[in-house]
Every structure is written in C-alpha cells, then in structure tokens.
C-alpha cells in the first residue's frame, strides 16, 4: 500500500477494484449493490470474493440487493481521519445490516448525523464520488 504524502493528504482514498471486486464497482455505477449468493448452501455474503465463506463453493452468483437495511451501530465522526474528511464533519458512519442479512460499512447522506438512532431504517443511495467512483451510501428510509 502506498504511503500518503502530505501534499496528497486532502485527497479522499479511492477504492481500487481488484479481480474479485470489479463486478461490484461496475454494479454500483449502474445503481446496483451486488451481493454474492451461494446456490450450494444458500449463504448470502458481502464483500465480493472468489469463494463462499460458509461452504467454500466457487459457484457464486451476483444479485442486486433490495437496498433496504437498518442501522446496527453507528458513530458520528467529529475529528476526521486527516484533512480529506475534515470538511465533512460531523458525519455519521453506519454499520448497516442489509435486509438480505449481510452487514456493511457506509455513511449517511440526505440526513442529519445527529438524528441517527439504532435500528433506524435506511435506504441505499448510489452516490458518485471523486474519480468516477460510485459509493454505496444510505439515507433515512
């Protein structure tokens, strides 16, 4: 991993797709949050990888999530991890439990960070970010 130099500290980290995750990032650009479904054991998983974490099958299918979920936990960031996120504070980092089961990390859009509560219903928003990347974020449902 490259070290971030002081001159680059204001730039947000960009996700770099790899061979496992290319379809995931492509899906987001089309408005879909892809989960992996295992036809052999029924496991549904996030994130994108070559095998089912439950049974080891390589026979995985990508399916778009419905986009609904609830807040399993959260933390409102007041002191940013470096200059790149400073202008965004306070912002709510969410640990979202998707209706399909898997959990994921995201952050709140279209809502006040101070109003986030446990078990709050949230809905996926595919939001363009720097560098042509589309990030899966969530708004209050």
């Amino acid at each position: 991993m490259n070290r971030i130099e002081p001159k680059d500290a204001h730039i947000k980290p960009q996700p770099i797709p790899d061979a496992d995750t290319e379809a995931y990032w492509h899906g987001l650009r089309e408005g879909n949050l892809l989960l992996q479904h295992c036809p052999d054991c029924g496991h549904v998983q996030f994130y994108q990888q070559a095998i089912c974490r439950q049974c080891g099958s390589e026979n995985l299918e990508h399916r778009a999530a419905g986009g609904g979920g609830s807040v399993h936990s959260f933390s409102v960031v007041h002191r940013a991890p470096g200059p790149a996120f400073r202008q965004d504070t306070p912002y709510a980092v969410l640990l979202v439990e998707l209706d399909e089961g898997p959990r994921m990390i995201s952050s709140l859009v279209q809502g006040d960070a101070a109003t986030v509560t446990f078990d709050m219903r949230v809905q996926l928003v595919c939001e363009p970010a720097e560098g042509g990347v589309v990030l899966p974020r969530f708004r209050p449902a």
């Binding site: 947000k12 960009q14 996700p15 994130y47 933390s75 002191r79 991890p81 640990l95 990390i105 952050s107």
Partner: protein, 406 residues
C-alpha cells in the same frame, strides 16, 4: 461466523504439550517515553534493548533471536532485521510481526514457543515507534486509517477509533453502559499514571472533564481515547532453566498463551459486543491452569475506555454486560478485584502504537517481581496481559507468573 466458538474450543488442547513454564522474561527495559523529539525509532528501540539486556545481565552477543513489531515512523519492510543490524546483532531466529495492537502479546507467545521448540535460546523482543514527533498528527491518524480496507471501509472516512466506537455504542445499547462509566475508566487510569514516573499525562481528571473534553467519534470524547506517543520497550526471554540459574533479575514465567482472529472487516465481526478475547483468554487460562479470579494484576489493552469494559467481561473478570458497573465500583484499581494497568495504560502512560501494549507487559513484570514501589499490588504472583487491535480483529493473551506459580 457462528461456528468459530466450537472451532476454537480450548478444551481440545487439553492434555497436549504446551509452553507453560518453558520460558521466562528475565530482562525488561524502556526508552524515554512520551514526547521524545530528536530520537529515531531505531535509536529508541536500541535504548530500550540495552536497558533490557542490562536488566537481565545478558550480553548482546548471547542474543540469537529477535522479534519486533513494525513501526509507522520507520517503515522498514524488515524492521527486526534493520534493528539487528543497527544494534550489532546477528540473530539466527527473527521476524517482524504485524497483527496491530495484539502484536505485543504475540511476541511473547511466539518467543516462548520458539524457545520451547529449540529455535532460539535468548530472544530479544522489541517494539518502538515515534507517532508523536516522528509523524505529523494528521499523518499519524492517516497512518492508522490506512490500516482499514481501502475498498469497503476507508472511502467512508473511518478513523480506527470509529471501529472501536461502534462496538462501544452497541454495548451501550445492549447493556445500558453509560458515558459516565466509560469516563470512569479514564479517571482511574489517570490516577494510576500520576504514580508512575515518566507517564505522559499526570494531571488529575474527573468524570466531568472526560465528558466535556469534546467529541472525537461518538460515543467517545477526547479523554476516552488513548494518547499518541513516542517510545520503545524491550524484553529478554530465555529458557526456564537458564532463568533459574544465572540471570540478574527475578524471572517472570510465561504460563499461558492464547490468540484469536475473528475477522478483518468490522462489518464481519461476529458480534460487536463479544469478541475473540473470549477464546484467546480461555486458551491462555487453560494452558496456565488458572481461572480469571486467581489473576492478581492485569494489563488490559485500553486504546479506548469502552475497550477496557468489554475486555473485563470477555476475559472473565466480570459477567457480560456488567463491565460498566464493575468499573464504577472501582474493581480495576487497588482494593478492587483486578487492578488493571497500574502504570496508567495507553490512556495516560503512553501509546506509541504497536509498542503500547509492551508497557502493560513491563508493568505486569515489575508487579510480579515486586518492584513497583508505591504502585505495588500486594502479593502479586499471577498476572495477565491482553493485547488487541484493529477494531477487535486481533486478540492475544499472555498469562505470566512468578516462580511461585510454576
């Protein structure tokens, strides 16, 4: 996810040969700690190592094993090798370990196994970093956040504090743990640091001070968070046979070891409020042949106040969900059931990153030697150190004992 409890059933190891009592810590040393400008990471490491060798009365030339943690401010690919060259040592057993904050305890566990297995005779354990003056504050934080996944976590601006904060937040939701109880952890650690020479923070604080210190990431305020420091610690570990014959210090024996790694991403943590410390602790107790109630003094990783509360539960010092009340009752200080972090911990003594938990080891070693002066826990014979990191992803426990516990 759900089957990791059975997979790591510690009773499976019952009857197998273990490292219990095979190796001992016979030397402990520290560099200058806290704000230490003008010293490179390798210079700090060397200062600590020389102190540890002198403490043991073992010559540099006798060291054949070197284990180090890596350093943010000295990003050698092979820190242990760079350190050995700098120190003038040619080890025949060496590695640089990296499981975040848990690295400290893993170094002792691995050193004991290497000695028991004949890979080395005298091992130097060294951790050093310079997060306060070797990196700018922003880069220090940035260095921490770069340890989170670049695709699934970092794009959302997660400081490492945030992963721990979400677990603490959930603990509040599930068990009614309060911000005041978190603050109490910080207050007690400060009381401890006030009695420790060289501690970075020694001004007394109150629960209100913690609550009014400003948010970092909810539910954590500034004073719920550990320090950013410079510093190094080093230890000499040798065989029990040698420890009993010709070393200068009173040996402290490695009696039990356990580790557990439940996840990499915080969203795959099996439970936000019950961690792999349950397994690492159970393995260590089983190997040492003791119960939590028998531990006299502990070093419990305290990167955040809530971390201590959760670990007290998972290590069996109190019941799940009762950690907040346990701290409120002052059970983690003198007169309580398990005095913890009597040097002040990462919250008030120092936290130079991966070496941070080595200071817990240093304190527990001094306690078991009976060398802690006014900080001494009376009659301390059995100690535990628990190191963890990366949002509870990495967990390592070491149980230590005086000669009386062998």
């Amino acid at each position: 996810m759900k089957d990791f409890m059975t997979r790591l059933d510690p009773t499976a190891a019952r009857g197998e040969p273990t490292i219990r009592g095979k190796a001992a810590i016979v030397g402990a040393g520290q560099s200058d700690v806290g704000r230490v400008p003008g010293k490179s990471v390798l210079a700090l490491a060397t200062q600590a190592a020389k102190a540890a060798l002198a403490d043991a009365g073992i010559e540099r030339s006798e060291i054949d094993g070197v284990l180090c943690s890596s350093a943010f401010a000295a990003p050698f690919h092979r820190f242990s090798i760079a350190f050995s060259e700098y120190m003038g040592i040619t080890p025949t057993f060496s590695n640089t370990l990296q499981v975040s904050g848990a690295t400290a305890a893993t170094m002792f566990n691995i050193a004991a196994a290497a000695i028991a297995g004949g890979l080395a005779k005298n091992i130097l354990i060294v951790g050093a970093d310079s997060l306060l003056t070797g990196l700018s504050p922003d880069l220090a934080l940035r260095a921490m956040t770069e340890s989170r996944d670049q695709q699934y976590e970092m794009p959302f601006g997660i400081p490492v504090a945030n992963t721990f904060a979400m677990t603490a937040h959930r603990h509040m939701k599930e068990f009614g743990t309060t911000s005041e109880q978190f603050a109490k952890v910080a207050v007690i650690h400060r009381e401890h640091a006030m009695r420790t020479p060289g501690a970075q923070m020694t001004a007394p604080i109150t629960v209100d001070d913690v609550m009014n210190s400003g948010w970092v990431t909810t539910p954590y305020h500034k004073l719920d968070c550990s320090l950013i420091s410079d510093g190094a610690a080093a230890f000499v570990v040798t065989s029990a046979e040698r420890a009993a014959s010709d070393v200068r210090s009173k040996p402290v024996y490695i009696l039990g070891a356990g580790e557990c790694y439940t996840h990499e991403h915080i969203f795959l943590m099996p439970s936000l409020t019950t961690t792999g410390a349950v397994q690492s602790g159970a393995m260590a107790y089983e190997m040492a042949g003791c119960r939590p109630a028998e531990i006299d003094v502990a070093g419990v990783y305290d990167c955040f106040t809530g971390t201590v509360i959760m670990m007290l539960e998972d290590l069996g010092f109190c019941l799940k969900g009762e950690g907040g009340c346990f701290v409120d009752d002052r059970q983690i200080t003198y007169g309580g059931s398990i005095p913890c972090n009597t040097h002040g911990g990462l919250l008030s003594y120092a936290h130079p990153g991966m070496p941070g938990s080595l200071f817990h080891f240093n304190e527990v070693v001094q306690q078991l030697r009976g060398d802690c002066g006014e900080r001494q826990v009376k009659g301390a014979e059995l100690g535990l150190v628990h190191s963890l990191g990366a949002g509870f992803a990495t967990q390592a426990t070491t149980i230590l004992g005086s000669g009386a516990t062998l």
